[in-house]
Amino acid sequence: MSKGGRYTTSVGSMRRGKLITLIFRIVLAIITLIFALFPIVWVISASFNPTNSVVGQPLIPPNPTLDNYRALFNDPLNPFPRWLLNSLYLAIVVTIVAVIITTLAAYAFSRFRFNGRRQLLQSILLIQVFPNFLNMVALFLILQQIGTYLPRLGLNTHGGLMLLYLGGTLGVNTWLMKGYFDSIPRDLDEAATVDGATPWQVFWVILVPLVRPILVVVGMLTFIGIYSEYVLARIILTDKSLYTLSVGLNLFIQNQYSGRWGTFSAGALIAAIPVVALFLIFQRYLVGGLTSGSVKG
């Protein structure tokens, strides 16, 4: 009730006044929803529109077809299915490795006390202030140098791109994960240690099952971040067959704009589905993560 009383004068608030306020709220809600959703509705509509043009397009196409989706999957010049697989492959592999690396580190930072621990934690916090992609010139050169000796980790390879992504993972998520480890009572693992459990057993048998929610959050945030990453993928990958969605999708509308609008819309919808689905499924966790300070890429 306190919230209701916050913006209406408590003295003499009349029924009529309340009704007008409510109507105002609903009208604003409708305007906001139109603003927020009309691009999405429009893309859905365009993806089923056979005319493949945006001029004079009615919102519900008179004769909807799947032609745009067929074109999307049968274009040898712009191999959309390949890009989709590349994006999923990169995001899934990086997510798994990143979660493992971060969990190991967070466990150590939460449970052990050692010299330099505080400095190390602060360095991790400070270093993530500089987004990795800003070092694009240096990263490009480093991959070029590595590629001379290890061709599968050089420029224009998924392996090299993954290394760059993994380099940034520790900085982003260690604090988030360590905070969750800290919230689990130490008595649990101290009791196990007294009973003769090794640190690895404490970690694997006792703590990992308990921290599963934060593993999900970190995993989702990493997946979404890598799936959406644009700059490094754009700089490192030069073969069309190696592109990710973020680099490739744009090609549909770069030149002959109106001609490819329908195909682009179909591709945009398919590209957005994995992330939007994850978002809505894990909304509860992610909203918590958002308010605690992570900004999505």
Partner: protein, 530 residues
């Protein structure tokens, strides 16, 4: 600190004398084997890199490898073993690149200066020229099963014929070239044209007496002379044909009259990349414009999304609002869609000829619509519109969360004093809100300060500025400006200058972060757990 005292210095558990002893012998062997494999691999890699002069990366890899060995061999460093995989990746791919960026910013690295000095000398020394008085030869070409070539050369002046292969002394021959000799098969005259590119790239004979097949004059070979000779004593290259002497000046081989030859090589050039940024008007003016727009873009993005998000949160987050949960889920969708999808969609909606937004505006105004992509002002408005759409849900969510945690008694006191809603918002809600979400607003500012994706996908930073020394557009922010200089330029990449701008971005981020940490007292506040 109590924990340290309790567990003894340096580690959480004693490494020996516990029930883990048998386990740790097996573990010890596995550990040594794993370390041996890592070390062997690293030694090979570092050795190869040092051989090629890639010493910076070699040093970093060596340090990381030594670090891993120390961490896994010293029981006192046991906790660091858990951190080492992430730490190694972070050192190589985040920390080292930052330092490397700083280093590059003090070099002339870029198109025309991509090679090392030794590589350019080798390249110049491999160039040859045909002296005017050189003797010309007719040749017959041979090839063996492995693809090696041999030439049978007959002087046009009528001397003794000889055969020659790359890297060996000529062998005198008599008579006409046979079809098969010494394992080589003669290439028929009508096939030679197809092999000409491969043939003419080879030097037959020793370094002193090298014969080459002419690519311009078909059927002719000649003894070519090296065009350039490098003299290590004077550190100069001399052109044997013209006699001009070139000395290296700032990574470019320059003659006394100022003429230069390409390619140049990479050297450190001091603070030149920084000084020309501040002294060269053709660089300074676009840089200042880009800098102002970067700050404006980031600040306005935060202000408009925060304002609208706060308005929506206040209006919608009340008990009497119907469908609150559904509304929140629907408003979340724009935020969930990746920017690489939603920005091109908006570009389509705004398209001046086909886009529905521009079409609708034209219908209302009778034919006029903003030039969303060709006019600097409207391009910026278009970007801010997209930013509003992208960022509003985030602000809505965090402000909703923050409002719920505000104390209610202050409002009751204000009600007693007869404050009106606006007064209450201005003097209670907003200040309290800013304290709660302030750090997130600063983070959002820092994020948008480098929001590469939105700018690049909207219009590649365009419309382009006219008459600038480096390629730059009116909507470019510092991060995309860097990219354009380093990679996307038709006028020659200038990575050294790009790195200098990156370093400037870093300095700005340091300032932002300083304020953010001051604001949140993050480091002090978490002191207990740090």
């Amino acid at each position: 600190m109590a924990a340290t005292a309790q567990k003894g210095p340096g580690g959480a558990q004693a490494p020996s004398g516990t029930s883990t002893q048998p386990n740790s012998i097996a573990g010890w062997i596995v550990r040594l084997a794993a370390l041996a494999i890592i070390d062997a691999f690293a030694v090979w890699l570092v050795y190869m890199m040092l051989g090629d002069g890639v010493w910076q990366l070699a040093v970093v890899l060596a340090i990381v490898t030594i670090g891993i060995n120390v961490i896994f061999l010293r029981p006192q460093l046991y906790p660091l073993r858990w951190v080492s995989p992430g730490l190694a990746l972070m050192v190589i791919f985040v920390a080292y690149p930052i330092l490397f960026t700083v280093y590059i910013s003090f070099t002339n690295y870029g198109d025309g200066h991509l090679l090392t000095k030794q590589q350019t000398i080798e390249q110049f020394e491999s160039q040859v020229f045909l002296p005017e008085d050189a003797e010309l030869y007719n040749y017959a070409a041979f090839r063996d099963a492995d693809g090696n070539y041999m030439l049978w050369l007959t002087p046009r002046s009528g001397g003794q014929a000889f055969t020659v292969t790359p890297g060996s002394e000529p062998v005198l021959r008599d008579g006409e070239p046979p079809d098969v000799m010494d394992g080589f098969t003669r290439i028929p005259q009508n096939r030679i044209f197809g092999e000409l590119t491969a043939l003419s790239a080879l030097r037959f004979g020793t370094d002193e007496d090298s014969f080459q097949v002419s690519q311009q004059q078909f059927g002719v070979a000649a003894k070519y002379e090296p065009l350039y000779v490098y003299d290590p004593a004077t550190d100069t290259l001399t052109n044997q044909q013209t006699g001009v002497v070139y000395s290296p000046i700032n990574g470019t081989w320059t003659a006394e009259d100022g003429s230069t030859i390409q390619p140049g090589f990479m050297v450190t050039i001091g603070a030149y990349n920084y000084s020309r940024l501040f002294t060269d008007p053709a660089l300074r003016e676009p840089f200042i414009l880009v800098f102002i727009w970067t700050v404006l873009f980031a600040a306005l993005s935060v202000i408009i999304t925060f304002s609208l998000g706060t308005l929506l949160a206040i209006v919608f987050d009340v008990p009497e609002m119907p469908f609150r949960r559904l509304l929140r889920s629907l408003l979340l969708i724009p935020y969930a869609i990746p920017a690489f999808v939603s920005v091109p969609v908006w570009v389509g909606l705004l398209n001046p000829e086909f886009g529905i937004v521009s079409q609708s505006i034209k219908a209302v105004t009778g034919g006029w619509a903003p030039a969303w992509f060709s006019d600097p002002f409207w391009a910026k408005i278009g970007i801010l519109l997209i930013q509003l759409w992208l960022g509003m849900p985030y602000m809505f969510i965090i402000v909703t969360g923050a409002l719920q945690s505000l104390p209610t008694d202050v409002y009751e006191a204000a009600d007693l004093d007869g404050a009106n809603p606006w007064h209450k918002f201005q003097s209670i809600t907003l200040p309290l809100l800013l304290i709660t979400v302030g750090p997130l607003l600063v983070a959002s500012f820092a994020f948008n300060f480098n929001n590469f994706t939105v700018i690049q996908l909207y219009n590649n930073g365009g419309p382009p500025m006219i008459g600038t020394a480096s390629p730059v557009g009116h909507t470019d922010i510092l991060a995309t400006y860097t990219y354009r200089i380093a990679f996307a330029s038709g006028r020659g990449a200038d990575q050294g200058y790009a790195a200098a701008i990156t370093v400037i971005i870093f300095l700005i981020l340091v300032v932002i972060t300083f304020f953010q940490f001051r604001y949140t007292n993050m480091l002090e506040e978490r002191g207990e757990n740090v």
